[in-house]
Symmetry: C2
Subunit: 494 residues, 2 copies
C-alpha cells in the first residue's frame, strides 16, 4: 500500500485557512448526526514515528464536542495489560453507541513493536485484528483506519530539529535510538501488515504527511466522507458484511438423560467431595504459581444446581484467588456496548479464577428465546464466541464450560420444594415459571449451542444433574482433570 | 484495644456445627434486607499475618448471594496505584447501593506497611482514613471493621506448620522474613492505630482468633448484629453523625462585575494568546517530566465561555497528555454510588492533565438549586469537597478552579446569538432558558460555594467573562502562573 510520498501533496497556509473552518463545522455536524443515530465510531491513527499523529489528532478533536469522544494514546502496555490477551485493552476501550474513540496508536503498533520478530505470534495477532474489527463492524461500528506516511528524508529532518515540534520532544528524550535508521528495514514489514489488514470492512487510508497542512486537510476530508457514507448506507440496509450464517441442524441434537446411572449416596458423596476438594486446593496454588488463568462457565436450566456446584467448588479455595461473576440481564450502560464488552472487563488476571454464573452464552440462550436481540445477532454469535474462546485458550487460560442438565419433571419437583421451604422461597420467582413454559424453545437453543460451540479444545461438559451429589462430583472432577492436564501440557512443552 | 488473647475463647467442633447453619441463614436473610433497603456495606478485615483472614472470609461469603458482594484482596499496590492518592484505589472499589464490599486487608495494611516508618505520612494517612470512612458513613454506608487477633505463640505455631493451612503457603513461599519475629515490635504500633481509628461511626471489633471456630462464629455474630442494628436505626432516623452544618452567610458574598476594566482588542488578544500558549506548551512537558498531575475545574454560567476557554488552552497541548471530562447529570449507574466516586475514577495519572468541564461542584450548584439532593447532602458537601481537594494537593497535584462569570444581560445576548446562528443553535436548549429563570437561586449557590470552598491553597479564580478575549487570557495566564509556581515550589524543596 505504501508508495513514495509525492512531494506535490502540499497545501499552502492560505488554502488551508480557506478550507479548514468549513471542514470543522461539517465534521462537528456529523459527530452530532452519528450521535443521534447511536453509531459508535473507532478512529485508528498509525504512522511512522514523527509523522505528526499527535498534531493531526489535536486538530481533528477540535471539531468534536468533548462529550462525545475519548482519545487514547496507546503506549507500552502496563504490567497488567502485558499479562492479558492482546485485544483486552482495546476491548475495554471500545466506544459506546453514539461515541467516538480515537486510538492514537493502536493494536497495529503493538503488533509491530512486540510481535514482528516472532513470526507465529505476529500471524496470530494479525488474525485477531481481523476478528476484532469484523466483530465490531458486524455490530454496527464504523471503523476508520489512517496511516500517516512520511518519507525517510522528511523523518530525518524532523528528528534533527525536534525543537520545531514540542510534541516530539517527549518521545526523543527517552531514547538514544533513532527510528530513522530503521526506516528502510521497517518499510516492507509495515507495507505487508497494511496490505494484509486492509479489510473490506475496515480498509486502510494512507495520509501523505510530509506537509502537515495536507495531512490535516486530507484527514478531515476522509473522516467526513466515511461518516457521510456510513450514515447514508445505514439508512438503506443492514450491515453488508454479514458473513456468518447460522445453519439449522439437520436434526436436533439430543441432550442425554439427566439421570446418572450410578446415583451416589451421601457418604460416598462426602468422601469424594473431600478427595477432590483437597486436590483442588493444591491446584489453586499451582495455578497461582504458574500464572494460569482459570475461567469457568456455568449454564443450565433454572434450579439445575449451578449455585450449589459453585459453592462446593469454592469451599476449598482461597477467597483471594477467585471471584464469582453472576451474570444477569445487561444494564442500560452495558447495552450501549457490544455484548462481549462486559465479559472482557471481567477476565481474570493470570493465576486467578473467575466463575461465571451464566455467561456470554446468554446471547444464544435467553436473548435468542426472549427475542432480546435480532436473528442476525444471535446467529453470528456462535462464531464470535468460538473466536473469543479460541483467544482465551491461545492466551493460556483453562476454560471449562458446564451445562447443568436436569429434566422437566425434576425441575418441577425443585420449584415446588423451593416454594414450600421458607428459606428458599426467595430463590424462585415468576420469571422461573415463565422460563419453564418455554422449555421447548430453550431446548432447541441449548442443542444449537452445544452443537455449534463444542470445539475440540473447548467442549461443553453436560452435567447429569438430576442427582445433585453426582452433579457436584462430576463438576469437581472435571475441574480437577482439566487443570491437571493443562499443567501437564505446560510441563511437556518446557 | 489489643489484649492478650484469652485461651478460653474456644468453640468445639460440635457447638460450631450446632450454630453455624442458623447463623448462615440469618446473615443470608440480612443480606437480602440490606439489598432491598439499598444500603451499601463495607466490611474490613485486618489482622496479624496468619490470623486466618482468608479462611474466615471464605466462611462468611458462603452465606452471601454472589450477586451482592465483591471481595477485594488488598495486596501491594500496582505501579499505577502507587502513583495515585492512597485512597484512590479504595474509592474506586466502594460498593454501590445494596451491595457489600469485603476488603481482605485494606488501607490499614497500607498505612502499616508503607507509612509506619515515616511518621508525618502516617499521621496524614490516618487522618484520611477518618475522612474516607466518615464521608461514606454520612452518605449511608454501613462500615464494619474487624481485626483478627492471635497470640504470638499461636502465630509462631502456624508459621511452623504452613502445610496445615494451604492458604498460608501462598504467602510464606514468597519471603524469607518471618513476621513472627516482629510481633512484639508491631504490637504497640497496631494498638495505637486501632485506638486512633476507632471512630464512633466505624469502630473496631477485635476477633480473638487463636481458635478458628471461635473466630468464624464471633465474626458471624458481629456481622449479624451490625446489620440488624443498622437496619432498625435507619428506620427511625437519619444518620446520627451529621457533624457538618452549613452556616448561611451573614451577608451575601457579591460576585465582582463581569466587565473587565481593560477590554482587549483582537490583535492584542492573539498576541497574548500565542505568548501564553508557547509557555504552556513547554510547561506541559515539564509537568510530564516531573510527574505532576494537573486538574482544572471549569464552572460558570451557561454560555459563559467555558468551552471556548478550554479550546484555547488545549490548542497548545499534546493530545496524549490531556483529557477533557465533560460532566453532566450522573447516570443511573453512577447514582448508585457516593457522588464523589465518579470523579475519583477520572483523576489523572501523574504528569497528565484532566480538564473538568463542570465538576464535583455540581453538588452545591445544580443539585442544590434543582433539589436533586437533600439539604443535608449539599450542606455537608462544602466540607467534603475541601477534604477531597486537600488530598489532591497533598498528593502533589496542581488544582485550579475557574468560575466563568458573566452578567445576566451578557448571557441573554449570547443566548440570542446562538439561536440566530445556524452553527450554534444546537448549543442552546430549553434547559438553558430554564436555568436562566433561576438566576437568583444560582447566584446564592455560587456565592456560598466561593465563600465556603476558597481555601488558602485552592482558591476560586473568578474569570471576568463579559469580554471573551480577556476571559481567555485570564484563564491562560492563571494556568501558566500556577504551574510555574508549583515547579518553583518543588525546586525550593529539593
Amino acid at each position: 500500500m505504501l508508495k513514495n510520498v509525492n512531494p506535490d501533496l502540499k497545501i499552502s497556509k492560505h488554502d488551508y485557512n480557506e478550507e479548514i473552518d468549513s471542514l470543522k463545522l461539517r465534521l462537528g455536524e456529523l459527530q452530532r448526526e452519528l450521535r443521534n443515530s447511536k453509531i459508535p465510531v473507532i478512529i485508528v491513527f498509525e504512522g511512522w514515528d514523527a509523522a505528526g499523529i499527535a498534531k493531526v489528532c489535536n486538530k481533528v478533536i477540535r471539531s468534536f464536542d468533548p462529550r462525545g469522544y475519548t482519545l487514547y494514546h496507546i503506549g507500552d502496555p502496563g504490567t497488567a495489560e502485558k499479562s492479558m490477551p492482546l485485544f483486552w485493552r482495546f476491548w475495554k476501550r471500545i466506544p459506546s453507541k453514539g461515541n467516538i474513540v480515537i486510538f492514537d496508536r493502536s493494536w497495529y503498533s503493538r503488533i509491530l513493536h512486540e510481535d514482528i520478530r516472532i513470526s507465529r505470534k505476529c500471524r496470530v495477532s494479525i488474525n485477531y485484528s481481523g476478528i476484532f474489527e469484523r466483530q465490531l463492524y458486524d455490530d454496527g461500528y464504523l471503523i476508520i483506519k489512517l496511516f500517516l506516511h512520511i518519507s525517510k528524508h522528511e523523518q530525518k529532518k524532523r528528528f534533527k530539529n525536534p525543537d520545531d515540534d514540542p510534541c516530539l520532544k517527549y518521545y526523543i528524550k527517552n531514547t538514544d535510538w533513532n527510528p530513522n535508521d530503521d526506516y528502510d528495514k521497517y518499510y516492507p514489514y509495515i507495507d505487508d501488515i497494511l496490505n494484509e489488514t486492509d479489510y473490506d470492512f475496515a480498509p486502510w487510508n494512507i495520509i501523505e504527511s510530509d506537509d502537515p497542512n495536507f495531512a490535516v486537510i486530507k484527514t478531515y476530508r476522509l473522516l467526513i466522507k466515511y461518516a457521510e457514507d456510513f450514515l447514508s448506507a445505514r439508512k438503506t440496509s443492514d450491515s453488508q458484511f454479514a458473513r456468518l450464517k447460522y445453519i439449522p441442524a439437520p436434526e436436533r441434537f439430543t441432550l442425554p438423560d439427566a439421570e446418572p446411572d450410578n446415583p451416589l449416596n451421601r457418604d460416598d458423596y462426602l468422601k469424594l467431595k473431600k478427595k477432590h476438594g483437597k486436590e483442588i486446593q493444591k491446584l489453586q496454588a499451582e495455578l497461582y504459581k504458574k500464572r494460569i488463568p482459570l475461567i469457568l462457565l456455568f449454564e443450565g436450566w433454572d434450579a439445575s444446581g449451578k449455585g450449589g456446584a459453585i459453592v462446593r467448588f469454592t469451599e476449598y479455595l482461597n477467597p483471594r484467588g477467585y471471584r464469582i461473576i453472576p451474570i444477569s440481564a445487561p444494564s442500560d450502560a452495558e447495552l450501549k456496548y457490544n455484548y462481549l464488552w462486559r465479559f472482557y472487563k471481567e477476565l481474570p488476571i493470570p493465576g486467578m479464577i473467575r466463575i461465571f454464573d451464566r455467561s456470554w452464552y446468554g446471547r444464544v440462550l435467553v436473548e435468542r428465546v426472549e427475542e432480546l436481540c435480532s436473528d442476525y445477532e444471535w446467529q453470528r454469535a456462535y462464531h464470535e464466541i468460538n473466536e473469543l474462546e479460541e483467544q482465551l485458550l491461545e492466551w493460556g487460560a483453562v476454560v471449562i464450560k458446564f451445562w447443568m442438565h436436569i429434566d422437566k419433571d425434576e425441575q418441577l419437583r425443585r420449584f415446588r420444594e423451593r416454594q414450600n421451604n421458607p428459606y428458599k422461597q426467595w430463590k424462585i420467582t415468576e420469571e422461573d415459571w415463565r422460563n419453564r413454559s418455554k422449555w421447548d424453545k430453550y431446548e432447541l437453543a441449548v442443542s444449537d449451542m452445544v452443537r455449534l460451540t463444542s470445539t475440540e479444545k473447548c467442549p461443553w461438559n453436560i452435567v447429569l444433574g438430576n442427582n445433585k451429589y453426582n452433579a457436584r462430583i462430576q463438576t469437581l472432577s472435571t475441574i480437577e482433570n482439566e487443570i491437571k492436564s493443562k499443567i501437564q501440557e505446560i510441563k511437556n512443552e518446557s
